[in-house]
């Protein structure tokens, strides 16, 4: 029995919301993320539990089973590989690829995914810095931290974003903040908590707390 488009999206969202601790995900949180109503979510949860893809006890929230986790990770793998393709091969901007990958991720062919992976040179990260699970389903989250946790004077490398919204990514483009760039925090401005930073040791600018909270960075 194949999983539908819709089922795959639920599994992927449950995976995202339960984090790496595998916390229980609530019906309302799923309704929010899927843009449906709680009653619809309950229907779907019963079906997914039936298929052995989630652990579900009424009123107790859900977690993925091993089988469900496997499906979710495969969808994530496809999503991220297609994003790499769109950016690296077709020349799309990192702000343009999410919605298209949202569709491509459901194309069912293991053969296709493996060939695509090879064609792209087995990339480890997608255009937003998110790690790409390997063919066996191993997904290792790198230990990046949020820019707000960096110290004044520290030089860090930009490794990913928490917000994937096109408007945020376009804002970063305008600021010259790209994946892999060097960021040095020169000062935290008391007035609005914005940070004065130097990018790639050549230009200086303010970045708002809102932006800092959505940037993942790495020391050294």
């Amino acid at each position: 029995m194949q999983n539908s488009f819709t089922e795959e999206n639920y599994l992927k969202i449950i995976h995202a919301l339960s984090g790496r601790e595998g916390l229980e995900v609530s019906t309302n949180a799923l309704a929010e993320s899927t843009s449906t109503r709680a009653a619809s979510v309950t229907d779907m949860l019963r079906k997914l539990a039936e298929k052995g893809l989630i652990h579900y006890k009424k009123y107790q929230g859900v977690r993925l089973t091993e089988a469900g986790e496997k499906v979710a990770i495969n969808v994530i793998r496809k999503h991220r590989l297609w994003e790499v393709f769109l950016v690296e091969k077709l020349g799309f901007g990192w702000d343009e690829v999410h919605d298209i990958a949202e569709e491509l991720e459901h194309i069912p062919s293991d053969h296709l995914v493996e060939r695509l992976d090879a064609f792209l040179g087995h990339p480890r990260f997608d255009p937003h810095g998110d790690p790409i699970p390997d063919a066996k389903g191993n997904l290792t989250e790198p230990d990046y931290f949020i820019l707000t946790e960096a110290q004044i004077g520290e030089k860090v490398r930009m490794m990913g974003v928490l917000d994937h919204a096109p408007s945020f990514l376009q804002h970063l483009d305008r600021a010259g903040i790209t994946l892999g760039c060097l960021i040095e925090i020169t000062e935290i401005n008391e007035y609005d908590k914005s940070a004065s930073v130097q990018i790639n040791e050549n230009h200086t600018l303010f970045i708002s707390l809102e932006v800092s909270k959505n940037l993942l960075v790495q020391r050294r």
Copy 2:
């Protein structure tokens, strides 16, 4: 209003079945091609007529409207471009790509199609020799003819196939008959109507009438 996956498949099939003359297509022919029952086809035809995509009068068969033709051709364009991608870039065989393209053809993004087209170098034909409609929807069928219509002694070039079944394509692979190869008919064998042919002026073999009927060729 977007067209569904299913609607797009109906339009594409109506296009194929009505041929270049734009003949009326029967309900039963559609039921056959869509692997559904006639009653289901009737339901869908009413809906497509409602949306202005087909001309439909009860019991009289259907034809595409201008709008329907446009949608159908765009789906065909996407199908064939993705097939080129799968063969040229990912290294699939021409016998492996049809089913995958059948899914990819429904990914909705004009931007994506145009970039894919450019990435592939604006190919004019797909891996089976079928012409790829241009971005404006112009589809020009080359005037190839069937190998059975060639004369003894004639040298022709293999330009396409009528049957797209993997088993047929694999059979051609085993016979060394590829797109663009030279075929010289040396003899028609009375016994079984098979043809003795020479491929690329270097190897000789029999090909059955069944095979000849599915090969499109060009003179000189």
